[in-house]
Amino acid sequence: MDFLTPFQYEFFTRGIIAAILVGGTCGLIGVYIVLRGMSYIGHGMSHAVFGGAVVSYVIGFNYYVGAAIWGFLSALLINEISRRRKIKADAAIGVVTTAGFAIGVLFITAAQSFHRNFEAILFGNILGIMDQDLYVIILVSIFTVIFVFFFQKRLLFVLFDKETARVYGVRTEILEIVFALILALVVIASMNSIGVTLLATAIVAPAISARMLTNNFLRMIIFSSLIGITIAFLGMYSSFFFDTASGSTIVLFGAGAFGISSLYAFIRKAYHSHTHGSVKHTHPHLHTDQHLHKH
């Protein structure tokens, strides 16, 4: 079989462009989510957005706009509940987003029949991507990259030391609102290709894989985006040959990337670990005859 065969099909070419863009964007935004300690929000947001998408479709509102508003409001609600400190963010995410998902399911079961295939939103159907979906993905990807590029210093400051960032004039509340909006947009752009039930891994897996590979923030962003692109390409490409669901295949490649990077980190640590008397420690050094390293 010719390895270029899939590219003869327009739907595949369109699908793989969408997958690469979604993979890269999820990888990029995932770094900020993972380092913020809110990995679960990707899972939650995707579920919440499903409710918004179904409700908008039922009431005849624009599918993308409705889902975006719903996702944005869910993110604001999560931020606000977790800010109160009595309830932790993960609990707030669990309730708010699952409730959103439940509303979507309720509408589907109540109305019984739809023209639109909501299975694609749940589990992803990257080969069914239309031109309109691709335009949304391209726009959201560009918007996300621009946002991260110009707000990188503020985002980093807030992630590392939010309180001091406020003292130094970073408008943390506004930044969090804008970030929530971007996340909602990324989730919406990705849900047709990966599916809301699988999206969390596409957001988190590249970032945690990159974290295992480097301790440098900028490198982590680059690695995470590249891992996102790679797993999207490989997942999409192999799904064609193995005739599997593209979303699931991409997500499994993501899990595989995390497994490989964890193994690499384990081996690297074992290689650089050594003992001095009863003290065992790990840091980069050369395993030469002289066992060169600096403390």
Partner: protein, 319 residues
């Protein structure tokens, strides 16, 4: 700046400030609390002239860290007046406290707390307040201090990198720029935070428990650095619970417990009566300054185990 110039006990910077020295910070009748009708601070009046090296001293839950956070703009007072350089802020009575709520930032998206001119302040939080495993370098952390003056690109330009290098060199950690912060010791972490605070050339340096959780040598190094900075004209405000190790060596102390109990040089501020009011403890009669800190520690442990002089305060928990 000689970071290594350790200052012996009793070697303290000058506090001979002229009466005519202008106030950098003026606070009048300030009240604040985290819960309505339950103020943590009440009727606070404080003048801080340029060049003062001042320590806020008090037990757990006394409001010293809260006052510090009002000064740096993290909390909005219920009422009172604050003048910082030429910027004046008046607060009428309201129970809108602590951090911004959804409603408040939708109504006023610009700022909810006091609009402290942040470029004039260098802030050093407690080193325990951040995750030191976070994947950033010393250069990136110090550069955060001038995030708004280092270009719009995600990376630092040559001028910023030189600035960072200059500040690091002045604190004796010139070689640390490319190091990951997870590789640093407690004292080095504190110096990195100091570098971040100093890089913007602030007029006032604010430190929250700078010697909390550090060993004796590190504490002495930090005190030495702060003393050198003060001798060069920097105004410094810090909070501390450590009377004997740091508090009594500062040129000016403010004893605080909900309101200001006393202030002045240690031998005036730390009288038996003032300490009794501040800590609510029995103390040695003949030793208002010398061994007071030690005896306080002992008395505290005996008399009030739940209200010790440890770094973990009510305010820490609030944070």
């Amino acid at each position: 700046m000689g970071h290594g110039s350790l200052h012996e006990k009793g070697d303290m910077p000058s506090h001979d400030l002229d009466d005519g020295v202008e106030n950098l910070l003026t606070i009048r009748d300030l009240t604040f609390g985290y819960m309505p009708h339950n103020p943590v601070l009440e009727g606070i009046n404080l003048d801080i002239p340029k060049g003062r090296f001042l320590g806020l001293l008090g037990p757990s839950g006394s409001g010293k860290s809260t006052l510090l956070k009002i000064i740096i703009g993290l909390h909005r007072p219920w009422q009172g007046y604050i003048k910082f350089c030429s910027n004046e802020f008046n607060y009428t009575k309201s129970f809108n406290s602590t951090s911004s709520s959804l409603g408040s930032y939708l109504v006023n998206p610009i700022k909810n707390s006091i609009s402290t001119p942040f470029s004039l302040i260098g802030y050093v939080p407690q080193i325990e307040s951040v995750d030191w495993n976070f994947p950033v370098t010393v250069m990136e952390v110090v550069g955060m201090g001038i995030w708004n003056r280092s270009g719009v690109y995600p990376w630092f330009g040559r001028r910023t990198r030189e600035n960072v290098q200059r500040v690091l060199a002045s604190l004796g950690i010139a070689d640390y720029a490319k190091r990951q912060i997870r590789e640093l010791s407690g004292g080095e972490q504190q110096r990195v935070f100091l570098a971040r605070a100093l890089i913007g050339n602030p007029q006032i340096l604010v430190l929250d428990e700078p010697t909390s959780g550090v060993d004796y040598n590190t504490r002495e190094k930090i005190f030495g650095i702060l003393t050198d900075l003060n001798l060069k004209g920097m105004t410094i405000i810090l909070t501390t619970h450590d009377i004997s190790g740091l508090g009594k060596r500062l040129p000016w102390l403010v004893c605080i417990n909900k309101s200001i109990i006393s202030q002045g040089p240690p031998n005036e501020a730390l009288t038996q009566q003032n300490l009794l009011k501040t800590y609510g403890l029995a103390t040695d009669k003949d030793d208002p300054v010398g061994k007071m800190g030690d005896s306080l520690s002992i008395s505290t442990k005996i008399n009030s185990p739940e209200k010790g002089l440890d770094a973990t305060t009510h305010e820490d928990k609030e944070r």
